[in-house]
Amino acid sequence: MKSCFVTAGWKFALPVILLVCARAAPAQDKKVSATHLQSETPDWSGYYRLARGKDLGDFKPVNTDLDKAIIPHLQSWAKAKMEATDGVADDTGGVCLADGIFRYPPFAGSFIWLTSPNKIVLAFTEINTAGIRRIYLNRKHPKDVLPTWNGDSIGHWEGDTLVVDTTGFNDKSWLMSAMEPHTEETHLTERIRQVDNGQMIEIKSVVEDRHALTSAYTYTRYYNKNDAAMPAENVCNDEIAEWKEWRNKALKKQYDRAHEVK
């Protein structure tokens, strides 16, 4: 508690200090890093990259092959659409255009975590495709949310866990690389917490869509904090003609395997 008051400083009114420290205390008891800057929101600011291999330590991602995890949950129309979809021509993400947040974060995701009053901002490294996520902590979903690639995200704290509820997706993106479709009814629930003494973030995700999935699918990923590796700029598709030529060559090699899995 002492360090908590030092962090809060004298600028905060007493009720705020108490609120901050009350929230921080249980987190510290669990050896979860939680410094506080401007509000009661734990400051997890930094650059995070998807943890793989030995970087995972004892933590185990769940459903690492998301295509295999998703396809059995597809409703018949969704599976038919997937099979009729051209994995190159219809993949906006493949040409560095927007493709939502279902694919990049669990497969190759890296992001800058920013803390702002009343919201948390995740700026994905592949900003062209995955964009920016803003998780609002002080409001509910709008009644008439305009469908967007990344949906409308709201969050609340349950102990040391940030629970994020996202709705309001458009239906233009795919759930994963096999071009699994979803609808505007997609509902993403994430439970996010720090682990490994604050050096990792764990994100447990549940995806529901009553119009496209027979039941929910889940996955868990871990992200290492690595501020030293933060990219200052990553503009996808610098040379679009070169990229398209290279991409087509690369994807051609993958067709056979994709067919086998399907």
């Binding site: 690389s177 030293a228 933060m230 067919h259």
Partner: protein
């Protein structure tokens, strides 16, 4: 059935442009020193550019435009040869800070963090994201980038941002004015009218392309609104 590439993700890792890694020590040191984010004016918020012609209290108004800058003869000739079809704005590419900040109705979000201020744009594809580092200098060898390398310092209540290291992909204005690798921007950003507005002054210098340095001023209103997700979805 055409295959949806099951291993597309592995390609996606590789195809992500040119990730530019920062000087590690600089960011780590900054992350351990949140001083600048605590003691300086808090610029956190969403800001929208006021339209040209609007006069704010105190007579404050937008001055100048990137379209008015003077080019050296060779650069002017080069501009005449540019096709507007190649405008980065038409292929969902970043416009660069100098051109972007002058855009009508441009909406930005500033988020102070440890040792840096992040600038996000509602027009994500054209504005992208800028990171202004407060606790380090420019690297000795800067890798050319769309937004260059930005470092900031506080001069009283004014954030002074110095940016170098631009690539040659952006235009300085809608007419196709080109710049060289010598482009140097100095931006002075400060809250005015009690924080109701943000004053933004930028000076562009380029000894190889501009006849003389050029400065324009824009005012941004702090808005109590969320910033949207305006993502460029297709090549125009």
């Amino acid at each position: 059935m055409a295959a949806g590439a099951m291993l597309r993700g592995s390609v996606r890792i590789l195809r992500a442009g040119v990730p530019i890694l920062l000087a590690a020590a600089g960011f780590v040191a900054a992350a351990q020193n949140p001083r600048s984010a605590v003691t300086s004016p808090n610029l956190d918020g969403v800001y929208q550019a006021i339209p040209n012609g609007t006069v704010l209290p105190g007579g404050l108004k937008n001055i100048g435009s990137p379209g008015d800058l003077a080019l050296q003869p060779a650069a002017a000739q080069q501009m005449k040869g540019m096709s507007l079809k190649d405008d980065p704005a038409k292929v969902c590419k970043p416009l660069g800070p100098f051109r972007m900040m002058a855009r009508d109705r441009n909406k930005i979000e500033l988020i102070p963090s440890h040792g840096m201020i992040v600038m996000l744009f509602e027009d994500l594809s054209h504005g992208h994201m800028r990171i202004i580092f407060l606790d380090r200098k420019h690297p000795e060898k800067v890798t050319p980038a769309w937004h260059g390398d930005s470092v900031g310092r506080w001069d009283g209540d004014t954030l002074v941002v110095d940016t170098v290291g631009f690539n040659d992909r952006t235009w300085l204005n809608d007419s196709g004015a080109q710049h060289s690798d010598a482009l140097h921007l100095v931006e002075r950003i400060r809250p005015v009218s009690g924080g109701k507005y943000l004053e933004y002054k930028v000076t562009a210098e380029d000894s190889k392309a501009l006849a003389k340095p050029y400065t324009y001023t824009r005012y941004y209103e702090k808005v109590n609104a969320e910033i949207g997700q305006d993502i460029c979805e297709d090549e125009e």
